[in-house]
């Protein structure tokens, strides 16, 4: 199970999606979160070392740097950090690609307050 003292990095270009995921994580007792709007910003946060990042939730379709490119760059230097891809039901091809790039798990959007904690708990037990 993911350590609740660690910080979870939420990466999505949509504020509503970031906020929705932050609230679900807070409901589960994961209060330490940090947010990024795209992959490049996420890499800066990971490499900056200011936060003890325990896991990353990474949207796939984003401007500046998308989730696939960000995942590839994360895996160049860090094979252990759990990275959960966040995607829509429609994007099955991207999930296959991210699996090859080394994602830890994936979750389907939208993640809502009613079902989100159960879905993420299942994922966290496998990380």
């Amino acid at each position: 199970m993911l350590d609740k003292e660690k910080t979870i990095l939420i990466v999505d270009d949509t504020m509503m999606m970031r906020e929705g995921l932050r609230r679900v994580l807070a409901l589960m007792g994961y209060e330490n979160t940090v947010q990024a709007e795209h992959g490049k910003q996420a890499l800066n946060i990971i490499e900056g070392g200011k936060h003890d990042i325990g896991a990353v939730f990474l949207d796939i379709v984003m401007p500046v740097m998308d989730g696939k490119e960000a995942l590839r760059k994360i895996r160049e230097t860090n094979k252990e950090l759990p990275v959960v891809m966040v995607t829509s039901k429609a994007d099955k091809d991207s999930i296959v690609e991210c699996s090859k790039l080394g994602m830890s798990s994936y979750v389907l959007k939208p993640i809502n307050a009613a079902e989100g904690p159960g879905i993420l708990s299942d994922i966290f037990t496998r990380l």
Binding site: M16, L27, K89, A90, D91, I111, N112
Partner: protein, 174 residues
């Protein structure tokens, strides 16, 4: 039947039906709203397009290179209700904003992104291939006028929402 043959029946069955079906499905899953459309029974689309208060247009490029538009067209009241409901379901709260503010626009954008993604999957699982662009958001009639340039055919489908009015899905064919 090739999608390039722009017949009403072809567009209706190959493009509009997937969009309407996925819209109704997303209304239920993302907004806890019940939507209905006559298109799913027997009615033919309307041949009109009139901008309401808020619209989202998506370019749909066929394999023959012609770019058409799928437009979701809402009055402010319906847009606000959907925006509030999407946020309420996502956050587990009761959002009751009375204006079409940035939070509601973002909620509508996410809703429509989901509809487009699901409809694209449905359409491309057939032998038809359509490339969809990113959503373009339109806030007044003047900004929407370019949509009608070169249009040869308009197919509009009303989607009725229980206690939340009605909005329109239009397919603008060049």
């Amino acid at each position: 039947m090739k999608l390039e043959d722009i017949s009403t029946d072809n567009i209706r069955n190959s493009v509009l039906l997937p969009f309407v079906t996925e819209t109704i499905s997303a209304l239920q899953s993302m907004a806890d709203l019940k939507g209905t459309s006559d298109l799913l029974t027997y009615h033919e689309p309307l041949d009109v397009f009139a901008f309401k208060d808020f619209a989202v247009s998506i370019n749909a490029t066929f394999t023959n290179g012609v770019t058409n538009n799928v437009v979701m067209n809402l009055d402010a009241r319906t847009a606000i209700i959907i925006g509030n409901k999407v946020r309420s379901v996502m956050f587990g709260t009761n959002e009751v904003d009375i204006t079409l503010n940035d939070a509601n626009k973002e909620a509508l954008a996410e809703f429509l992104n989901t509809v487009v993604g699901l409809a694209t999957r449905d359409i491309n699982e057939t032998n038809h291939k359509i490339s969809f662009g990113v959503p373009l958001y339109l806030y007044n009639k003047e900004d929407s006028e370019f949509l009608l340039e070169g249009i040869k055919n308009i197919m509009t489908v009303p989607v009725d929402l229980e206690s939340a009015g009605r909005f329109y899905l239009s397919f603008l064919v060049r």
